[in-house]
Symmetry: C2
Subunit: 229 residues, 2 copies
Amino acid sequence: MKAFEVVLHHVEDEIFNGHLRVGSLLPAERVLALDLGVSRTAVREAMRTLQAQGIIESTVGAGSTGGTRISGEHGWAITNLLRLHVALELFSPADVLSTRVLLEQQNIAAAIAQGTEADYDGIQVILDEMSRPATPLRRFNELDTEFHAAIAQISGNHLIRALTIAVRESIARDVRGAAAQDMDLQVFRQMVIEQHAGILAGIRNGETTHAQELMSHHLNWRWASLLTP
Amino acid sequence: MKAFEVVLHHVEDEIFNGHLRVGSLLPAERVLALDLGVSRTAVREAMRTLQAQGIIESTVGAGSTGGTRISGEHGWAITNLLRLHVALELFSPADVLSTRVLLEQQNIAAAIAQGTEADYDGIQVILDEMSRPATPLRRFNELDTEFHAAIAQISGNHLIRALTIAVRESIARDVRGAAAQDMDLQVFRQMVIEQHAGILAGIRNGETTHAQELMSHHLNWRWASLLTP
């Protein structure tokens, strides 16, 4: 076993046996190096691995405010990983699209089964801001993400929510680049808003199959440019 | 930006712009360090990050057989990441179970829509080996994984297949540990075999909803010990 793997397995074991939990502070590098009989370089290499997996985060500061802790933020690590794997064509755009349709249709079913009027009103606020012509494109794209995340949020299933966002973001940059080239921007924005509004109306009215079909249509339209070479 | 991040972003950019593809050989550590004006330690830290994401793999050897290459193997990286996140309770067993039911039900629909008799016969071969009393428990567990992977394989959607296996493996160790304590092993094995056989019969007969219900029942039964504290 390489030196950095000794450190990695030690930290993983401490996670699996429950000694390290979200928010736990890791020992200082020199302490870990001494305890495990490896170099500080090996400790730092292991820390990079754990950082890439979203397991630890470092904060600057002295005493209780600084140091390396077990992180509670994780979604971005899955997103990063999928983004690179999509770029390497390990997963095709068609595979990513089907997966997203599956997840988003489940989110709609859950949003209808478990959503409250307050949940739906919150999504309407997002749509209202998207509808303002003065909203800059960058903000429009953020709100687009928020719309889908807000629907995913209602189920309370953190894993499906994380996967929905990761799958979406793994390809979002390509989708935005292609869409901007193909169409007048005002027409494009208006179509996104209308499709979102239709989906929200379907959710409010409890029309599961209809809202799911609208979502599937929306995603297929949005990603069409990636699927036709 | 830290020195290792300079290296990381360089390699990621080369992936996103298509210069690095699956199988591409990376420059030697000392060459990368020289080109990017960083230390070899920084290069090695970046390599650990890429390794953790399943992006690169190192092989030992001289000339064209050795070195660090862009990897085509990726599933284990998603599995590793989810396993740690489940251990940190970022995703609850109930969330993981619902996600798996969703994925496996999609796999059944695809296996019915796209499967051939040869596909189904291949799954039967797995069940036959599971049914032999002489099959050791370790092999039985491997075949259990193969059964679910073979159904996922039929769709040809690599992302859904990778997620199915990752979600399953993220919690498999806990499921096996709990099941072994609760029940006579022969009874347990017989129940797994019968449930698998029912699912396969449902797929062969094109009974989508029935086969999906059997799968949901199977997974809920298998994971029950994790959901009742």
